[in-house]
């Protein structure tokens, strides 16, 4: 999924981005609250990771402004501070989760996955569409016991389609969710992944329809 990381420390931002990318996520990074507010509106982020201690506008203020604008994107706050007040304040301002530095990388990944699931409206880690089963915690997918060998991007595309099985997913939305804004996106980038996925799902899995000029749809059931 597509994640916006707001962190002023360059080394930590690089590390978190690298960690989350290994999980198949597209990560965009900005260093200030001002930048965050300007990019968050235009992109379909599935999650925002927000550091509290930002120079200029601090994390709390960024969160407050996001929520006031009506942004419903899940927000995971990162902080170096211990105080209970801070955690309460963050959650009360509309944060969905809270993680204290230094965190365990596995915990960050797990929380990111949990928040991503909640975004789809389905908190179950295992997602089933007909014979297709996707374990969103491990990223494994199988069709009636046949393990699918998926690449990172393919897994992201499949998950994005499966959470909305039976509905058309617009192409732009799919691109937005799969690619970060600093990644080169070719004209048929999504088409390539979808074609490969079709091959891997066939013959016993659900099919992926192309709705010309609109997007793609995974057959439900």
């Amino acid at each position: 999924m597509r994640i916006l990381l707001i962190e002023d420390d360059a080394a930590l931002a690089r590390s978190i981005a690298a960690l989350l990318r290994t999980g198949g996520n597209a990560v965009d990074h900005v260093a200030t609250g001002e930048d965050a507010l300007s990019v968050v509106a235009g992109e379909p982020y599935a999650l925002v990771i927000l550091d509290v201690g930002l120079p200029g506008i601090d994390g709390f203020t960024v969160l407050e402004m996001l929520r006031r604008r009506g942004e419903r994107v899940p927000v995971l706050m990162l902080t170096a501070r211990d105080a209970l007040d801070d955690r309460v304040r963050g959650l009360d301002l509309g944060a969905d989760d809270y993680l204290r530095k230094p965190f365990e990388p596995e915990e960050l990944e797990a929380r990111v996955r949990a928040l991503g699931r909640r975004r789809g409206g389905d908190p179950l880690p295992v997602l089933s569409v007909g014979t297709l089963t996707i374990n969103r915690s491990t990223g494994d997918a199988d069709i009636a016991g046949r393990i699918l060998d998926l690449r990172r991007r393919e897994r992201t595309v499949l998950e994005a389609l499966a959470t909305r099985a039976g509905r058309v997913v617009p192409r732009e939305l799919l691109i937005g969710e799969v690619f970060g804004f600093d990644e080169p996106v070719g004209g048929n980038a999504i088409e390539v992944h979808v074609t490969r996925l079709r091959g891997k799902l066939a013959p016993d899995g659900p099919g992926i329809r192309t709705v010309r000029g609109v997007g793609y749809m995974l057959d439900a059931g």
Binding site: D9, A11, L12, S15, L19, K101, F103
Partner: protein, 464 residues
Amino acid sequence: MPAESRTPALRTRLLVAVLGPLLAAAILIGVVGATLIADVVRRTNDRVLGGALGAIAETVQVERGEVTLDLPAAAFGMLENTERDNVYYRVAVGADLLTGYADLPAPDPATLDIDVPRYRFARYRDQQIRIAEVRRALPRIDQPVIVQIAETLDNRGALTRRLMVALLIGECVLVGAAALLIRPALGWSLRPLARLRGAVEARDGRARPDFSPLDTGPLPSELRPLAGAFDRLLAQLDTATVGVRRFTADASHQMRTPLSVLKVQVALARRGSDTERREALDEIADAVVRLERLVTQLLALARAEEAGVSAPLEAVDLREVAAAVITRQINRAIEAGIDLTLEGDERAVCVVAGHRTLIFEIIANLIDNAIRYNRSGGSVMVTIETAASGVSVSVVDDGPGIAPTHRITAFDRFVRLGDGNGPEGSGLGLAIVRSAATRLGATVAFGDPAVGTVVVLHFPQVTA
């Protein structure tokens, strides 16, 4: 503890301070009292003796050319007392005894005024006696008529003794009561002190030290300054501990970001490919350097805030210190492509009173900042100037500079300027500089250049 044994207890002090003078006063009162008593006893008894003398003298008359008298019984009745004093009398005309005790010591008539009684002590029959005597002039009698009456002193002595005993008893009661009351009075007076101690002791053993003012209730005026001084000390401690607590909190927060980097990169190294592992190792190495620098600077800051409290000031040559710092940092500057130079008149006196370690730390941090937040091809110029107002060390760079709005907070701990994309610092350098400068009585301030940054460290006094 020797101090304790040499300092007498309050009780002893008070005993010495109160009972000494009281005893002296009692002795003085005793002496004065004894004189007064003797005087009063003599006067009252003399008056009675005089009364008896008058009664006898009045009856002395001249009848048909002869001196006669009629001794009144009342006169002797006046002199009767419980001590059964002996009473003697003598009436004589010239040398001729008219009546009474012939051997009672006679006065020289010439020394007596007519009809004015005179009193004197004398010895008679191996006893002290008091004699009252008067000379009368009778018509047609040429010889002086002397009337004398005397008594022994037993009654006077007994009276004096009784009064003296009463006085002594009174004095003893006074001194004794004072001695006995000192202990309970002291206990009562010191009760507020005990309350003060209780209030202090109540602070013991609390999980978190409580530095709020003592709750002692109303205190006597003598103890209020003590309680006030104690409260001020508490307030000072409070400020100090709050400072330390904030510092440790800040320091631990500051460590958390590089620690997070370490944890994430270790996780990435564990699961990634060889290339990814090498990248992760580079990040880990950077994070370790950052942590190391942070720890070093925290120690430097702790030293700067601690130093100079007791150590005597020494003469420090600023030019020599600046040269030493530059020698230490020149390789870094060359690596970063920065021209690092020392300017100023080499013969000028630039010795100040301070601590070399602290001054070294200040200049090192200023130069380090100037190199770190500069660009390749830039320059850092260290200038030492001596003027009447003191000696200044300026560190001038032509880097991106610090916005005037940021200059106010730049000296605070852990404040890092910029947008986070710049070089990684600990946010402690300028805090160290300010703390050390304050210790040395020096000031440190930003200049307002058109390009880059100017920081001036100023020592107000010059020592030759």
